[in-house]
């Protein structure tokens, strides 16, 4: 029995949330839906951890859908990289659900709760599906499942700006997804197959035929919209700011990371770094855009008065760090990019959870309303401080590990200016984190803050789990940087 389940793990990862979502709708009851969603997301987390372990021990796990052998059928393929990404996606999905109920009750009307949890599960299905599938068209389908459900989730926000933010995200996101679809179509036209491994084997690289070039351009631009790379990030700040707190926690921590994952997969497995970085100047361009993005977004973050918007701009900057690592195309650089996906998911998830706690107790995420809240809500404020240290990249936090790896790879590649700029940009992070810390601890309490009570344990504990994880993974790196390094070597080794 156990063995039978074991053989089906890759598909169970998708099927469990997919089945649970309509069950949530069938119950029609917020509490029952919540219980179901929580159980399923925990099971999904267990599944993905098991899968990750399996890939670490035995290598790639494959699953043929409907027993149709690839490249004719759809193949699900889990290697170390996808196992790593799906583990933290499902893990954060589960932790956010533990944290969710109080905040959801506060921000979303009671009659929509069961639909909220159903949509949340669908979003998780889409994100995990993108990690697990080995079929390019399937990537598009899962991308759309996750995007459509996230548009719906974002539009649930309390203010009237939430639907507008969701709409703007929908327009840009759909253009991005359609670009990806065009890219997939052109690749299919060239190779006659949709299986990623098969495409990689058949696509002609030497002379860079124009169709491949165009396909590559469409895929890159489309995924850049989804990743919110600097000039294409305009949907992100509004979407993160006006979405309900729980939704922001989940989407900020996972959605852009999964797009980065898809981008890395396509660049390193299908396009191959040789074509993308040597024949085409993608590395220089990525580096340029990410550096400009890091600076502009960090500076923008400094001037925000809304804490969620501040964190959103910081997210745009952090995506820059990931791409910076990826653009190095060395084992160290790539593993820095991958491990930063994980570390940033922990840090940003934790910080948005803190923002959610304040939103529950103070009823606002405006910085001016948070004045002096450090006295009445010390634990929540402390969580912000620790998470902030991680975001800056102070030693002993997870953020330090990824920045250290990035610096090392920049030195290895002999790119001193890049390293210097990175250090400089960390100072900007110090500024925006400090602004909030100062407001929390050293300002005269506002009326709301003076009467506030500590956030409920139900929310504090999950917050501290994530914030604590940033400390744990800042010291003990074999399961973060170690796995990321293995994944990076596999990605680079798989290419000639």
């Amino acid at each position: 029995m156990i063995d039978a389940i074991f053989a089906h793990l890759p598909i169970l990862l998708i099927v469990m949330p997919l089945v649970a979502a309509p069950c949530c709708v069938l119950t029609g009851n917020g509490r029952a839906a919540y219980a179901l969603a929580l159980v399923v997301s925990l099971l999904t987390f267990a599944c993905s951890i098991t899968l990750l372990e399996e890939t670490l021990v035995h290598g790639v796990v494959r699953y043929e859908l409907g027993d149709w052998s690839p490249p004719y059928g759809i193949e699900y393929r889990v290697d170390i990289f996808s196992g790593f990404v799906m583990s933290f996606v499902s893990g954060i999905g589960a932790i956010v659900l533990v944290y969710a109920p109080l905040s959801v009750r506060d921000e979303i009307s009671e009659s929509k709760h069961y639909l909220f949890y159903a949509t949340y599960l669908l979003c998780m299905t889409g994100l995990l599906g993108m990690c697990v599938t080995g079929d390019l068209f399937n990537v598009f389908v899962f991308l759309e499942i996750s995007s459509l459900s996230s548009y719906a989730l974002i539009s649930l926000g309390r203010t009237r700006r939430a639907p507008l933010a969701a709409f703007q995200y929908l327009i840009l996101g759909s253009i991005g997804a359609t670009f990806i679809l065009i890219g997939i179509g052109l690749l299919y036209q060239m190779t006659g197959t949709l299986n990623m491994g098969d495409i990689a084997a058949r696509v002609p690289h030497e002379h860079g035929p124009r169709t491949v070039l165009v396909a590559f351009a469409f895929l890159t631009v489309g995924l850049c919209v989804k990743m919110a790379v600097f000039p294409l990030h305009t949907w992100l700040p509004n979407a993160y700011t006006y979405a309900p707190s729980v939704v922001t926690c989940f989407i900020a921590a996972t959605a852009t990371k999964v797009s980065v994952y898809a981008f890395v997969r396509i660049i390193f497995e299908i396009i191959t770094p040789g074509f993308a970085f040597d024949v085409l100047p993608l590395d220089t361009e990525l580096m340029l855009f990410s550096l400009v993005g890091i600076f502009i977004a960090s500076i923008a973050a400094i001037y925000q008065d809304n804490v969620k918007r501040l964190l959103a701009y910081s997210s745009v900057a952090q995506i820059g760090y990931m791409l910076l690592g990826i653009s190095m195309a060395t084992p160290t650089g790539l593993s820095a990019g991958i491990v930063h996906m994980f570390n940033h998911a922990l840090i940003k998830g934790g910080l948005f959870m803190v923002a959610g706690c304040f939103a529950l107790r103070l009823g606002s995420v405006q910085l001016s309303d948070w004045k002096g809240a450090g006295r009445t809500m010390p634990l929540t404020s402390l969580a912000w401080a620790i998470g902030g240290l991680g975001l800056i990249g102070v030693p002993l936090t997870a953020g330090f590990i990824s920045k250290w790896l990035l610096l090392t790879s920049a030195f290895e590649a002999g790119r001193w200016p890049v390293a210097a700029l990175m250090l400089l940009s960390s100072l900007l992070a110090v500024v925006y984190i400090w602004r909030v810390v100062e407001t929390l601890f050293f300002a005269e309490p506002s009326e709301a803050a003076a009467n506030a009570t500590e956030a409920p344990l139900r929310m504090l504990i999950p917050t501290y789990v994530l914030i604590g994880a940033t400390l744990v993974f800042g010291v003990w790196t074999s399961y973060s940087a170690g796995i990321a390094r293995q994944a990076a070597i596999a990605l680079l080794g798989g290419t000639p």
Partner: protein, 145 residues
């Protein structure tokens, strides 16, 4: 809509054929062009036509929104349930060949690939019908701004 007898009568005449055609597309989809998605849209168009002509109140009696909402979920469950069933029978997800059986062979009970695709399309058909009707409700039910 009491003042338009022609529209009312033509609608009444048309709706059975629209629904029948939907069933044809649904169940003949195994042999020819067609399938759950198309059938669902056609079926829903019958319901929506009824709603347009006789009013939201009348259509909500025929297809109560709460039932439609559950049908949306039910269709997905039938689809995913087929996959889970094939897994329970020892195949891969959606591996229809494990659905081979010898029940009532003379009655042309579909088996194997046929049964699998039939169930999946049924799920798709139910969901699409429900979703299309739900979209109609969602828009038609809004008050005038």
């Amino acid at each position: 809509m009491t003042g338009f007898p022609i529209i009312r009568i033509i609608t009444k005449l048309l709706i059975p054929y629209i629904l029948l055609f939907a069933f044809y597309v649904q169940f003949h989809g195994d042999y020819g062009p067609g399938g759950g998605f198309q059938a669902g849209v056609i079926f829903a168009s019958g319901l929506i036509l009824y709603g347009l002509v006789f009013g939201l109140h009348a259509i909500k009696k025929v297809a109560p929104p709460i039932v439609i909402e559950k049908c949306m979920a039910l269709g997905v469950l039938i689809y995913a349930g087929t996959g889970v069933l094939t897994m329970a029978l020892g195949g891969k997800f959606l591996d229809y060949s494990v659905l081979e059986h010898d029940v009532l062979p003379h009655w042309h009970v579909p088996s194997g690939q046929h049964l699998g695709i039939f169930l999946v399309e049924l799920g798709v058909g139910i969901t699409v019908t429900a979703v299309m009707t739900m979209i109609f409700y969602a828009f038609a039910g809004r008050k005038q701004v």
